[in-house]
Symmetry: C2
Subunit: 109 residues, 2 copies
């Protein structure tokens, strides 16, 4: 049961990709507070249903959200463990560094 060693983890890339689009980020920010059905999200975001459905699929394929059916509604909610995976991936960058990045006063580039 050998686990492949750090190919730039597909699942991580899929996660970041899913979070690289403004509407999808709005979706997860809404879901942060409540489980919501698609029609709730459509109303809140004022977008067409098919458009939202498309983006929800991207989020779901990336493992960031789950869905559950109740009657004719499908409720979406966050899959927090996947957010943790991404968070931990990022945290490893810090671990390699001798010092935490100095917080520049004038942080211009």
């Amino acid at each position: 049961m050998v686990k492949a060693v750090s190919l730039p983890a597909e699942v991580v890339i899929a996660g970041f990709h899913a979070l690289s689009e403004p509407l999808r980020v709005k979706v997860v920010e809404l879901l942060r507070e409540n489980e919501l059905c698609v029609c709730d999200l459509c109303a809140a975001l004022e977008v067409a249903q098919s458009k939202l459905s498309f983006h929800l699929k991207t989020l779901k394929d990336a493992g960031l959200v789950r869905s559950r059916q109740e009657g004719r509604w499908i409720y979406y909610s966050l899959n927090l463990s996947q957010f943790v995976v991404l968070e931990q991936y990022l945290s490893e960058f810090r671990r390699y560094s001798p010092i935490l990045p100095a917080r520049s006063c004038s942080d211009e580039d």
Copy 2:
């Protein structure tokens, strides 16, 4: 000097977008260990220089890397504080949750 309140933070989206492409992820993983010049990266990744340059620009625009010139070389390094920004953005999703997602026994790496 009013700071806009949580528009799905452009800088966060740009960061996730930058990390949503395999070659760019390989770049930051290499830079995690060492500051490197473009020609080092070209050699390590076996890609054309113009291609790499394009992706480095994406990473730089997202604030994830810095560059510094030394003679005719341009050295790239991580800007860890931006990684921390992304990490903290993700960590806020956890904060809303009543329970931390169960850590599955079988997904250690």
